[in-house]
Symmetry: C2
Subunit: 200 residues, 2 copies
DNA sequence: ATAATAAATATTTTGTAAAATATTTATTAA
DNA sequence: TTAATAAATATTTTACAAAATATTTATTAT
């Protein structure tokens, strides 16, 4: 491995940086391959040595977003000194904050996510599965600590996801004011936590 | 009031019948005023004596849907012999079934609802407020019977709405299989009901 | 007057050719 | 050979005229 030469992965990353900045700002449709190439000081044709096509660059950008989000969520789970209840609340709230911020900073991200949802639904599904596992971990921890009393952990994780979907779905994020969504997210997760606990 | 002549309301209804059938089948965009008029044996121009424009006919169609739905939901609340818990579950499930059926029977209704959501958001909001009141009634009844222990009834009604939104939002209804949504709706409402009950 | 229509006009949609852009291929450089 | 480019080609978007449709107005009938 030469020290001064760029590796393929480095170039891929450079392309992704450029594409992400443009896609988030101007959208997938209004960004040209030529522009991305110029930002990377290369020809448009050369992009195809690193990605099969524009759509896949879009998908890779979305993936980067998603991975960032997942890292954040995994981090919450590992945070020491939090009860399972606190972790669950933090999980839902920080996810909401993070999605909200991303859409504020990169207004055209919405378009990108909509596209992925339409064309690469399997990516979305895989992510949901991944987050379901994280939620399941929290539930298992809560069961052990006596905070929760959940029999089917995976199913319950899926139910929690469904109940808070509205707080990370782009469509709703863009339709309601921040305060309202924030308050409701807090309220819903509190209600769910009550439901997860032991009966009298 | 003449016995043989149509009242204005009757004509309005006739127009709505014709429009609803076409909008639900072919969508707002692919239905012309001329077609609706023909179905009613009148000229296109004459439609404007009963509705200000095509969009408002669309809104009136949506309203009819909504009112039907609300009647169904009010009916559930009055159903004798059901506990508040059963009413809440029925409320969420039947609403889901009803929306699902409507979209199955009238595939282009989706387009209409999307349009209303975009252009006449206040209509959607008014409806949600109305349904919130119905939920609040159920909660109050549950409080009285000892099934629930809810302090802020209106706020909690709003939280329940948020948590089950995914089961009546057109976008999700069209993206996931019936079985999955049905199971999750049942699961979520069960979880919420647990959360509404008295603590140990 | 009221209800309706047909004709006139305004607006939107559609079809399509030109332009822009994505992608592939041929060529050059290291 | 690998990396890159420029040129060639395929595909998509745009611009805009023609056609369709929505809406208004003038006219007729009751």
């Amino acid at each position: 491995m030469k020290t001064m030469e760029k590796t393929v992965d480095e170039v891929r990353n450079q392309i992704l940086d450029a594409a992400f900045a443009r896609f988030g700002q101007y959208g997938l449709g209004k960004t040209t391959m030529a522009e991305i190439a110029k930002d990377c000081d290369m020809s448009a044709g050369n992009l195809y040595r690193y990605y099969p096509n524009k759509a896949d660059i879009g998908a890779a950008c979305a993936m980067r977003c998603f991975n960032e989000m997942d890292a954040l969520l995994r981090d919450i789970i590992k945070r020491p000194g939090l009860t399972a209840t606190e972790k669950l609340k933090t999980f839902v709230l920080e996810k909401f904050y993070h999605v909200y911020e991303q859409f504020s900073e990169q207004p055209k991200l919405y378009e990108l996510v909509m596209y992925i949802q339409q064309e690469k639904f399997d990516i979305i599904q895989a992510r949901l599965k991944g987050q379901q596992s994280l939620l399941a971990e929290i539930l298992a921890e809560g069961n052990r600590s006596g905070e929760f009393d959940v029999s089917d952990i995976l199913e319950t994780a899926s139910l929690i996801q469904a109940a808070v979907t509205i707080f990370n779905a782009p469509h709703f994020i863009n339709s309601y004011p921040f305060e309202k969504l924030e308050d409701e997210a807090k309220g819903v997760v509190d209600l769910l936590v009550r439901g997860l606990g032991k009966r009298s």
